[in-house]
Symmetry: C2
């Protein structure tokens, strides 16, 4: 069991930011990534269909005999974790709990902002989870549906993105937040624009590192760390593996450790 | 056969602009619309997966015994018409031929611009079809991948959309086009921004009306017009029918004739 790979899955390729953090923090672990590039994005779809698609992704990794399931997508984490836990024989960790915990630790004035896809914001999961760690927290949320396509089209330092960010984030100023959660794996790529708009004093939290650290903690606590040191990496997508390989450096910083392969779910 | 409905299908709900034109031009015909809202958008996916999804949509309507298939999506029309024709027992009409023909008639200087999704532009189908009608045409194309999410988020008269349009369309000025095809059903919604950027002298052609007129011509020529006058309308989507009903007026101008129902393909 210990030497089985960890499964990481996502609506698309944004979760490669989480995959990369896990590679860095747990360099001995084998990893399998699955991204649903045939049906991305999930953030504007219904809860029902997001659950259906997510269970199909989880099943694929369960069949690969992973020892742990990491849900690297905020939208899936927001609505499908209970359903995934129900079918999973192994631990399931989403990105929301770790990010919520990190923000609860970071804030000094208990005023926390959260941005994410329409579904993540609508689910109200961030306020709920943050208050579990910090009951006196005041949480303000804002959906930023255009950030994903803007990032995917590479407009990460474009004037139009800044313009749209200014509108999405305008309410945070008057709320006096001191911490802002980037509740979507695409948003770290426009962190500088977000920082410029919300101001230097606001601490920005993204989910990749807290999730990788939480994963490590759980593996250690349950004696599930691998004893080997020759990690293997596999990356699967449901459409256009060549395109993923080409644009992955946007999220991954450099070339992927292996070429993505196409699978049908 | 004559009194069977006409099937109209699309990657999402943009094709409702075509549906509406057909309702106006053929007011006696019964219509069934199918939009794949669970997997929209198609424009950035691979040819292979677009064909697969399109055949699933076509099969659904064929089982409903439609007398005619209208492909109201430019992306599907660009890559999947031959595959759909192969499985269809009835006529298949896409939006590209009618729009190409219209542009060939409209141009005076034979210089035509085309904008569309990445896949529609990459397919090179517009230059090919336009030259069939007007061999001396010079066709210039530009992919505008952000227009669809900008329209779907309602930024149809937003400064950021204008900014992005200015960049996408900047090359057309020096080419001296006198006609521009809006090669995507979402684009008519930002026609005013496009017109402002390319200039008042450029004639803008969109595919909805030419397609409805071409459909009428083929039905007449093949003696397929209904003899009844009590049209029935059905609208199906693969996700979030309530949301579709709410935002459809964006494309439809007013309320849909019936509430959309959800189907699983």
């Amino acid at each position: 069991m210990k030497d089985q790979p960890i499964g990481v899955f996502d609506s698309g390729i944004g979760g490669l930011t989480v995959f990369k953090e896990i590679m860095e923090i747990l360099p001995n672990e084998s990893l399998i990534y699955l991204g649903d590039t045939a049906r991305v994005p999930y953030g504007t779809r219904s809860k029902q269909i997001i659950k259906k698609f997510s269970l199909e992704l989880a099943q694929f990794l369960i069949k690969k005999k992973v020892k742990f399931l990491v849900v690297s997508c905020n939208t899936i984490s927001a609505v499908a974790i209970p359903a995934i836990k129900k079918i999973s024989p192994v631990f399931v960790l989403g990105v929301i709990n770790p990010a919520a915990k990190q923000a609860a630790i970071t804030t000094r004035n208990n005023k926390i902002g959260v941005i994410g896809t329409s579904m993540t914001v609508k689910s109200l999961i961030y306020p709920q989870k943050i208050k579990k760690f910090l009951p006196e927290a005041k949480v303000f949320t804002e959906a930023c549906p255009l950030f994903v396509p803007l990032v995917e089209e590479g407009l990460i330092d474009h004037f139009a993105t800044w313009q749209i960010a200014k509108e999405y984030l305008k309410n945070f100023k008057s709320k006096g937040i001191d911490t802002l959660i980037l509740g979507c794996t695409h948003y770290p790529l426009i962190k500088e624009i977000v920082r410029d708009v919300v101001g230097e004093d606001v601490i920005i939290v993204d989910s990749a590192r807290p999730t990788a650290l939480e994963l490590k903690r759980i593996l250690e606590a349950n004696n599930l760390l691998t004893v080997k040191s020759d990690p293997k990496y596999e990356i699967y997508v449901t459409d256009a593996p060549e395109r993923v390989y080409k644009i992955a450096d946007l999220f991954f910083g450099n070339n992927l450790p292996v070429k993505p392969k196409k699978v049908t779910l």
